[in-house]
């Protein structure tokens, strides 16, 4: 567990989430896409770094609190050492244009990983009790609020989250009345 999460974390330039989805769902098959998105939704709504919360939940699910600790440790330990070494030597590194270029290229790939994950997760919405139209509206509204209007993330997550939760409760109740 510790090693798996260390490997995950070390691939996560500019964000570990897309890498986590790739490794845990597509390659190792520890989770289904639906389980991943459910765990991630919860991790997002709770305070604390999303990826750390997600690791913790998965570790806990498989191996209890020891697994949770191993997952968090794996996620943080080696990257922490690396980033502190970088911080200590930063002023000498940042002068090389090659380093800046390489970081830029990695940034582009990080953006691609994130978008690809969005496309993959679209498939999980097909069986959603809300129905496709409401899902599309909610997803688009979120996208516009965050990417275009730049509303602070906490407000979006809480506002849309509570609204969507209420909406989903209503939809599920309605479906249970009409079998």
């Amino acid at each position: 567990m510790f090693i798996a999460f260390t490997v995950l974390a070390l691939q996560g330039f500019g964000g570990v989430l897309a890498v986590a989805q790739r490794e845990l769902v597509d390659r190792r098959g520890w989770l289904t896409r639906e389980e991943f998105i459910a765990a991630y939704s919860l991790a997002q709504l709770l305070p604390g770094p999303n990826v750390v919360n997600l690791s913790l939940m998965l570790g806990d699910r498989f191996f209890g609190w020891r697994g949770a600790l191993a997952a968090i440790g794996g996620m943080l330990l080696v990257p922490l050492v690396l980033v502190l070494v970088l911080a200590a030597s930063y002023n000498r590194l940042s002068d090389y244009p090659v380093v800046a270029g390489a970081l830029r290229g990695m940034g582009a790939v990080a953006a691609g990983l994130m978008l690809a994950m969005g496309f993959k997760m679209l498939g999980t919405l097909r069986r959603n009790p809300l129905g496709l139209v409401l899902c599309a509206l909610l997803g688009l509204a979120t996208l516009v609020a965050v990417a275009v209007l730049r509303v602070p993330l906490a407000w979006v997550v809480i506002g849309f989250g509570v609204f969507a939760w209420g909406l989903a409760r209503w939809c599920i109740a309605r479906q249970e009345r009409q079998p």
């Binding site: 974390a9 070390l10 691939q11 330039f13 570990v16 897309a18 790739r22 490794e23 597509d26 459910a38 765990a39 991630y40 939704s41 919860l42 709770l46 305070p47 604390g48 770094p49 999303n50 990826v51 750390v52 919360n53 913790l56 939940m57 968090i72 996620m75 990257p79 922490l80 690396l82 980033v83 502190l84 970088l86 270029g101 830029r104 940034g107 582009a108 790939v109 953006a111 691609g112 990983l113 994130m114 978008l115 690809a116 969005g118 999980t124 959603n128 009790p129 809300l130 899902c135 997803g139 979120t142 965050v146 993330l153 906490a154 997550v157 809480i158 969507a164 939760w165 989903a168 409760r169």
Partner: protein
């Protein structure tokens, strides 16, 4: 160790991060403005440039971006500062998440929990696209890197959807392309 920071300030510093931990909904980055206010503006423990560098470093290095927090601690007070900042930002949120997650999985089939997962799924997918969009924007905006950047982004999306390549190879390709000045 910055001038003006005493070891006797460390408990107060730690306490501050404990509080911020419970406010960090959506990730530690959302508390960055508040940290900036404390460390740069109120106490003068860091300069503006130090603060920005910490965030840039954490985003460039592998691993979760929350690692900008121990870097700030390190800049303020060396290794003890890094430890205080990291433990402070993680401990409360971790305990809370563990409790909620266990509580939720015990009640997985109740309508409330099912509605929670169903309702949040489209919002979460929307947020994933938003993050991708925000990350991609600098490449779309800068004419000098537009073509290479967009090609790299598109190639990554295709490779992720069509192949089973590990992300590390894509990142390596991105680094090489960037270093050669193609992106």
């Amino acid at each position: 160790m910055t001038p003006g920071f005493m070891l006797s300030d460390l408990p107060q510093f730690f306490l501050h991060f404990l509080t911020l931990s419970l406010l960090s909904i959506g990730g530690a980055m959302s508390t960055a403005p508040e940290m900036h206010r404390l460390l740069v503006h109120d106490r003068g423990w860091l300069t503006d440039a130090d603060f920005t560098t910490a965030i840039a470093l954490a985003q460039a290095a592998p691993g979760p971006n929350v690692l900008f927090v121990p870097v700030l601690g390190f800049q303020v007070a060396g290794l003890p500062g890094a430890a205080a900042a990291l433990v402070g930002i993680l401990l409360p949120s971790t305990l809370l998440s563990l409790g909620v997650s266990r509580w939720g999985s015990r009640r997985r089939d109740t309508p409330a929990v099912r509605a929670f997962t169903a309702g949040l799924a489209p919002v979460t997918v929307g947020l994933m696209f938003s993050s991708g969009w925000v990350l991609a924007l600098p490449f779309v905006r800068e004419p000098a890197h537009r073509v290479g950047g967009i090609v790299l982004i598109a190639a990554t999306v295709v490779a992720m959807l069509r192949t089973r390549l590990a992300p590390i190879w894509l990142i390596a390709i991105g680094a090489v392309a960037g270093a050669l000045g193609w992106a």
